[in-house]
């Protein structure tokens, strides 16, 4: 079952904040976040392995609520370089984590 991302698209002005959510109907072992710019390969952002874990990477951070089976990606003080499509990928416990099922993506546009 594909995780559901929301919103599907968001437009920001430079410096504004955004939150992208990723929800699953199944129990999750881990959540991965990737960003893909148009015409390029997806780039790894972060991985969350434990329930309730929160990680940060520059001005991008994420949380993982195992009970609610959801993860959120937080982009603070957005920069033009943050534009792209953000994908969450989830792995279920029995799959040993190697099989990632990706959400449909959230297209983020940051305007000057």
């Amino acid at each position: 079952q594909q995780p559901v991302q929301s919103p599907q698209a968001v437009i920001l002005r430079e410096g504004e904040d955004a939150v992208i959510n990723c929800s699953s109907s199944k129990a999750l072992y881990s959540v991965h976040w990737y960003r893909q710019k148009h015409g390029e390969a997806p780039v790894f952002l972060m991985i969350l392995l434990k329930g309730g874990e929160q990680k940060g990477h520059e001005k991008i951070s994420a949380s993982f609520n195992e009970k609610k089976q959801q993860s959120s990606l937080y982009l603070t003080a957005s920069q033009l370089s943050y534009s792209g499509t953000y994908f969450c990928g989830s792995s279920e416990i029995y799959n040993q984590g190697g099989k990632l099922i990706f959400g449909q993506g959230t297209e983020l546009s940051v305007k000057p």
Binding site: H32, P42, F87, Q96, G98, K99
Partner: protein, 112 residues
């Protein structure tokens, strides 16, 4: 350090033909993953290889197959090509299952 490399960059085939796509992982990575990304769509999990073994496969017909060689490089074979197989095929590698996946630039497969 060299990233994940895929060849060829573009491949044009006709219906019914067979296609072979190749992937070399990052040095030291033993897990290789294959994804299909149709135009404007998300990443669909195809196959996961680790230490030469197929660990998991996605919901694709058996005409999608692959293998991993002793040097951890991998091949994706698609038989009896259909028009809907036209897509970007992405390969990724990681140190092991449930580790960050690093993507190659992909092979654009076009079926005429």
């Amino acid at each position: 350090e060299a990233g994940v490399t895929q060849s060829p960059t573009h491949l044009i085939k006709t219906r019914g033909q067979q296609a072979t796509l190749r992937c070399s992982p990052i040095s030291g990575h033993t897990s290789v993953y294959w994804y299909q990304q149709a135009l404007g769509l998300g990443l669909q999990f195809l196959l996961w290889y680790d230490e030469g073994e197929e660990r998991n496969r996605g919901n694709f017909p058996p005409r999608f197959s692959g293998r991993q060689f002793p040097n951890y490089s991998s091949e994706l074979n698609v038989n009896a090509l259909e028009l809907e197989d036209s897509a970007l095929y992405l390969c990724a590698s990681s140190l092991a299952g449930n580790q960050p996946q690093h993507f190659g630039d992909g092979t654009r497969l076009s079926i005429l």
